[in-house]
Every structure is written in C-alpha cells, then in structure tokens.
C-alpha cells in the first residue's frame, strides 16, 4: 500500500514520497484506439470546489511487481491469469472516466460541499479522463476503449510505485475453509458475501475476467482475486446505485467480514452472481446461489445488488432461497420512499428473510452549491443546467451515494 498525498500534472510519470506526477502526453497514448478521437487527462483533489459530471467508472490504481502479472485479468492481463504475487495499491487516488455514453444516466461527484460525504471520490485525488469519440464510432466500441484504457492507466500509475517502499502492508485473510464434518470449529458462524452483478446488456453489464457474467450460474471465487480486479464495471445506469470497479476492488462487505474474522465470525468467502432480466432466471439463479452457499458450509450470507427496483428482487429472492436452504440471510437495499420519504421503501421485499440494511432513500433531495469548475461535460442534462451551477438533485444522481456494496454510512430511518 502506497499512500498518495498529492497528484500533479507534468514531468515524468513517477511516484515519490507520496506524490504522484503524471506525464500526460505519454499517458494519453494508453487511450490510442480507433473508437476515440482524443482524450484529456486532468486532476481534481479532495476539498476542491469542483464537480465531476457524467461519471462512468472509477478504478483504484493497482499493479504487480512483474508487468501485468494477473492484474485486471481479461483486460490488462490474460483472462485466465492468476497471481500469487504482491499487489501494489495507490491508496488515495482513482482513475475516473467521465462523459456522455448512451444509456448512461448522469452521475455527479462533488469534491466538496454537502454531497462530498456521499461519494468515495471526494476523498481521493482523481485522475479524470474525458474523451471525444471518433466520428462514426460504435458507442459500444467507445465504451470498451475507455474501459480498457482506464484499467491500463490505473495499472500504469501504480506501476510507478512498484519499486518504492510500501507505506503499509496488508495481509489479506483467506476465507476460512469449510469445517471438517466432525472436528470443525463451529464456535464462530461462517459468513460469506454474495455480490450480485448487474447483467442487463450493453452499457449495463459487469465483467468477470473480461466477460459479462450474464447467463452464468453463481460462482464461488477467491476473494483475493477481486483485489486484483477480476470484477470490472461496465454498468452506467443508476448513478447512486452503481458498484464502480473501485468498490469491487475494495469490496466493503468482504472487508467488513475480514475485519471481524476470528473475532465474532469466520469469513466464509465470496460468491458472484448475475442479475438476470427474466423472472424465471432470477428464481433459478437465487436457488443455485442458495444451494452453492449451503454446500460451501456457510451459516449466513450478506447479499448485495446493483441497480434499482428490478435488482431488489434478485436480492429478495436470494434471501428467501438462502433461508429456505438453512442459510441465514441479510440484504442491503436502497429505499425508494419518494421525495418526502412517505412511500413504501422497497419495491420487491423478501417474504421470509426480512433482515434488511438501508443504504438511504434515493428520492430525498439535496441542495448542491455552485462550484468553480466542472469536469466530464459542461452541462448537466437531467436538469438542463450548467454543470457547475447550484442545483437541487435527488440523492439518486450522486455517484455511488447509496452504495449497494455498503461503502457508505448513509441510511434512512423513520423520523420522530
């Protein structure tokens, strides 16, 4: 782990004493692609009077000692590469792509002011990539070029730190192996994470080792591999309900379970699951996930989603299927209780497994002050206003504000 205290443009790309400098001319070439006419790279810092609009994805810079040895498999390294080597992390920095894509609902991230506490990007030095598509380019190709470019850029930035001494070393706990039938330690409950990945087609897809998880049954994966970026977001809908690549790399549920491993639980592992679009497939996937967790010897699972009401049903069906299979379940939900908070909070609640965590009401309004500068575009189309203007917005447009993966501290409760 290398702590980043500043990021600046100019000079050679290097990392020294917490300061990351960027050779923009050189780094821009990472995005050479027939689908992109040009890219611009700039930097915004925590506390700045700045707003990033049309945020698409955020990636934490990470690298391996040897070139691309198992980092972002399927995009930067070969899809089936696995690495046991150390991962170098630039903590406190992020690569952010921002700009117009079709079907991308506009997300915004403020670096200061009342929305700053709602978004993880307000506490990172952000290397923001804006882009102009090549004329006539297919939008899917534009999105693909940006995605792989952002991952390569994140890898290149962290590579600059590989030769420097780490500020901190984190030894990630491997999941507890299933207990032996007779002699196992059953004194602590074995709890795992089920992370649903949105799989709704172009611009609403999430990739595992470079391929959409659509059509796949739920998969048990090595939780260490998500640190190396096996899960990459290509999902640009539902701004506040997105799971950016950055948060898959730092899966908050996995981190919370690891933090208490051996204290009051055993971390049992991670299952990735698609969010199918058809009801029958949702039900099948829920049952498969429940049976998988039961067979893995889990006592309980924490289920998370990505997306809106449709995705609630994937969580609820899994929770009920888990409890039917004898695995205790808790799910994370964002509430959709209306602007005044008086409506029913969840569209598709579970029926039997009713333990729900609230990541906040996405309809509640926020007043955002004007900012000195905006990146990602000059307009905020949702309100047809200048991107740097003061605006009233629902929490739903603040990037990852209701983090389905549990990053935030936002929640909702009944008043009075």
């Amino acid at each position: 782990m290398h702590h980043v205290s500043d990021v600046a443009l100019g000079g050679a790309t290097r990392f020294q004493d917490g300061r990351l400098t960027l050779n923009v001319e050189e780094l821009r070439r990472i995005f050479d692609d027939p689908a992109l006419a040009s890219v611009a790279i700039s930097v915004v810092h925590p506390g700045e009077s700045a707003r990033i609009v049309k945020v698409l994805d955020a990636v934490e810079p990470r690298a391996k000692p040897r070139d691309a040895d198992g980092i972002f498999p399927g995009f930067v390294s070969p899809a089936d590469s696995h690495s046991g080597s150390d991962t170098h992390v630039l903590r406190g920095a992020a690569v952010v792509t921002a700009g117009y894509l079709p079907r991308a609902q506009e997300a915004l991230a403020d670096m200061s002011g009342p929305a700053a506490a709602l978004c993880f990007l307000a506490s990172t030095h952000n290397v923001v990539v804006e882009f102009v598509p090549a004329s006539g380019a297919d939008w899917a190709d534009v999105a693909a070029a940006l995605r792989v470019g952002a991952l390569r850029l994140a890898n290149a930035l962290a590579t600059a730190a590989v030769e420097t001494a780490a500020d901190e070393v984190e030894d990630l706990t491997a999941p507890a192996s299933p207990p032996a039938e007779a002699a196992g330690d059953r004194s602590l409950p074995r709890i795992g994470a089920i992370t649903n990945l949105q799989t709704q087609g172009a611009f609403k897809d999430v990739y595992v080792r470079g391929r959409s998880l659509a059509g796949s049954p739920p998969l048990a994966v090595d939780a260490g591999e998500i640190e190396d970026g096996i899960v990459v977001s290509g999902q640009y809908g539902h701004p506040a309900l997105k799971n950016p690549t950055f948060l898959h790399q730092n899966n908050p549920i996995v981190a919370a379970l690891r933090a208490r491993d051996g204290v009051d639980l055993r971390f049992a592992g991670l299952v990735l699951s698609p969010e199918p679009v058809e009801q029958a497939a949702k039900e099948t996937t829920a049952r498969q996930a429940a049976e998988l967790c039961r067979d893995l010897g889990w006592d309980a699972a924490i289920v998370t989603k990505e997306g809106g009401g449709n995705a609630d049903s994937d969580v609820s069906l899994k929770m009920d299927a888990l409890e039917a299979a004898g695995v205790t379940a808790v799910g994370l939900f964002a509430e959709m209780a209306g602007a005044d908070g008086s409506g029913p909070p969840v569209v598709a609640p579970p029926e039997r497994a009713t333990a729900m965590v609230s990541t906040g009401n996405y309809d509640q309004r926020l007043q955002l002050p004007a900012v000195d500068r905006a990146l990602g575009g000059s307009r905020f189309d949702l309100l047809d206003t200048d991107a740097s203007a003061a605006m009233e917005v629902p929490t739903a447009v603040v990037y990852a504000a209701l983090s389905p993966l549990g990053w935030g501290r936002l929640t909702a409760s009944a008043d009075g």
Binding site: R103, Q105, A117, P189, I191, Q200, G201, F203, G237, H238, P252, I253, A255, A256, A259, R260, L265, A300, A301, I302, G308, G309, T328, V330, L332, F333, E335, M336, A337, G338, A339, G341, S342, G343, P344, P345, V346, P349, T354, A355, M356, V357, S358, G360, N361, D363, Q364, P394, T395, A396, S403, L405, G406, W407, G408, R409, L410, T411, A414, D415
Partner: protein
C-alpha cells in the same frame, strides 16, 4: 360548527361505477353515512350540507375540486370532513384534494381513508384519519372520524388527533458505521435468534381486487397505456427517463401505427434501440388497430397514457394508477392494456 361532508356518488346514493362521471353537487343536510356522522358529532356540531362528486371526475378533472370548493363555501361551513374512502384509490385521492383545498381556503378539514390508500400521500397539510379497508368497517371508521373532528374543533393540534394516520417519513441520516459493518451486525443478530431485527420495516402495499373480465370485447372501448416511456420524438414534454413524477397523454386518433422516427422511448431502464426501431412493440397500436378492423374489439381509445416505470417511487406509481383509472373510466373505457417493460 357548521360541517360539510364530502362523499362520492356511491355513498350519496346516486349510483355505482356507472355514475362515477357525475359532476359535483350539493344537498342540504346529511346524506347516507353523513347521518350517522352527524349524530356522532354531537350537539355542538352539525352536518349542514353534503357535497358529492363522481370519483372519476373528482380524481381526474382539475376544475372539479374548484367547483367542489365553491359548493362548500356557499354553505358558510367552518369544517369539511371527507370520506371515509376506505381502500378506494380514486375516492381517497378526491377526499385528500377536497380536504386540502378546504384547508388552503382557511377551513378546518379532515379526510378519512385506509392507511395504504394513495390519497394519503396527496393530503399535504391535512390530517388523514384511519378508516378500515372496506365499507364493512363503516361504523368504527365514522366513529374515529367524528372523534377526530370534535378534537380538531376543540383546538387540539392536528398532529395529536386520535386515529391520525402517522405518515412515517423515512429520512436520510449518517450512521456511525458503514452499511457493510451494519450488515455484519444484523446478520449476527439474526443468527443469535433475533428474527425481528431489520433497518427497513416490510412495506404494506395494500390490496387491489382485480376487475372481472369484460363481457363483450367486440363492443368495448379499449385503451393502450404504458410505463415504457413512449413519447413523440424529441420528448417535447420532457418525460423523465427515471424517477418519473408525472404521466402524459398523447392522441392516437387517425394513427394506424406508432411510426419509427415519430415516436421514441425515453425509458432509462433498458436499451431503447429495439423500441425505437419499432415503437409498436412498446405501445402495440398496430396490433390493436388490426383487432379493431377485424371487429374483435370495439374501438381503440383516442389517447394513450404513458409514464416511465424506472425507479418510480411506489407512492407516485399508486397515484398514477388511480388517476389513470379515473381518467379512463370517465371516458367510458372498459379495459386497458398496460404494457410493462
């Protein structure tokens, strides 16, 4: 106090659904359930007049509420009591709007309905008193309304009236712990046997009794309605692609089909490429016209009603539904085909 009782056409004895289009009217004294209400209000208060209106008119015609208010004002009333509307969405919305208008005009006002009635969300500053789900609970529902009315007349603050439906508002706040950490706490609590632990209470969506099948489609007026956000190209009325707070209406008269290029879907929840290539696949006007020509259905209604069903708050969706029902029934529509996406 001089009290005006607002009820719908059914409780006024004018008729059922077939009379839901009657315009606002006023009668002197109490009518129907108002007689019992008048008795329950005691010596100090008296129902001096009853104002009623067809549900479809009251829930969908913006002028109706103004007319109702004028009828109320003409009685010199001090207080308006609306309902009880039980679980009926259109009646509940009408009661809420009538009571709100009376409140805004400086009168004391109460509405009564079931807690899951979409009218509860329309009542704005007016207290809503709980009633049962159906008219079978008329007796106790009127008792609660009368008790609350006497309290309100005696100067009791609206927020502490007996029988008040507590509009629980869910408010965002920051916890000391991340959602992930709280999820771990919650799962441990549930493992320890606390089956009630949760941060979100299970919602009550109420219950809608499905309408019966129509007896003769060949003579029926059939409407096309959709949450697929199909709007004229360019989205002139700026329908939201997500979290819609409104619905829109567009004419179908003289059209055989939803032509590509003339209509588009602005729905934010799915890829609109296929929908825009043939908007009939969201709003099936082409197929409906075929059925119309073949005499399988009587006539396609001349307007379609549309919103975007993407991240819509349940309260807004319930209100849209009640308003659509009122609108279509008022126009004599017998059945609606609601396409979802």
């Amino acid at each position: 106090m001089r009290v005006v009782h607002y009820i719908n056409q059914f409780f006024a004895g004018v008729g059922g659904e077939d009379s839901a289009a009657v315009r606002p009217e006023r009668r002197d004294g109490a009518t129907g359930p108002g007689r019992r209400l008048d008795a329950l209000l005691g010596e100090e208060h008296s129902v001096v007049a009853t104002v009623f209106c067809g549900d479809d008119v009251a829930a969908s015609d913006p002028d109706a509420i103004e007319q109702i208010l004028q009828l109320i004002a003409s009685t010199g009333a001090d207080m308006v009591l609306a309902g009880p509307a039980f679980g009926s969405g259109r009646y509940g919305i009408a009661c809420a709007r009538v009571a709100s208008a009376a409140h805004a005009a400086g009168l004391l006002a109460l509405a009564a309905m079931a807690p899951e009635n979409p009218g509860v969300g329309e009542a704005a500053a007016v207290p809503v008193i709980e009633s049962g789900d159906t008219a079978r609970q008329m007796g106790p529902s009127l008792e609660r309304l009368a008790t609350a009315a006497r309290e309100l007349a005696a100067g009791k603050p609206a927020a502490s009236l007996d029988g008040l439906i507590a509009t629980t508002r869910r408010v965002n706040r920051f916890s000391d712990h991340t959602s992930a950490a709280r999820a771990v706490d919650l799962v441990l609590a549930r493992l320890a046997g606390d089956r009630a632990a949760t941060e979100i209470p299970l919602p009550d969506f109420g219950h809608v009794v499905p309408a019966g099948p129509i007896d003769d489609p060949a003579t029926a007026l059939i409407a096309l309605v959709s949450e697929g956000a199909v709007v004229p190209a360019g989205n002139p009325d700026r329908l939201e692609s997500a979290r819609a707070h409104k619905w829109l209406r567009y004419p179908l008269q003289g059209r055989d089909s939803m032509a590509a290029g003339e209509y588009q879907s602005v729905h934010g929840g799915f890829s609109t490429v296929a929908a825009n290539a043939d908007p009939n696949r969201i709003l099936p006007l082409d197929a409906a016209r075929e059925l119309e020509r073949a005499g399988r259905i009587g006539k396609v209604y001349d307007e379609y009603l549309v919103t975007a069903g993407n991240g819509t708050a349940v309260g807004d969706a319930a209100r849209f539904g009640a308003e659509w029902a009122a609108e279509l029934k008022r126009a004599g529509v017998r059945a609606a085909i609601l396409t979802s996406t």
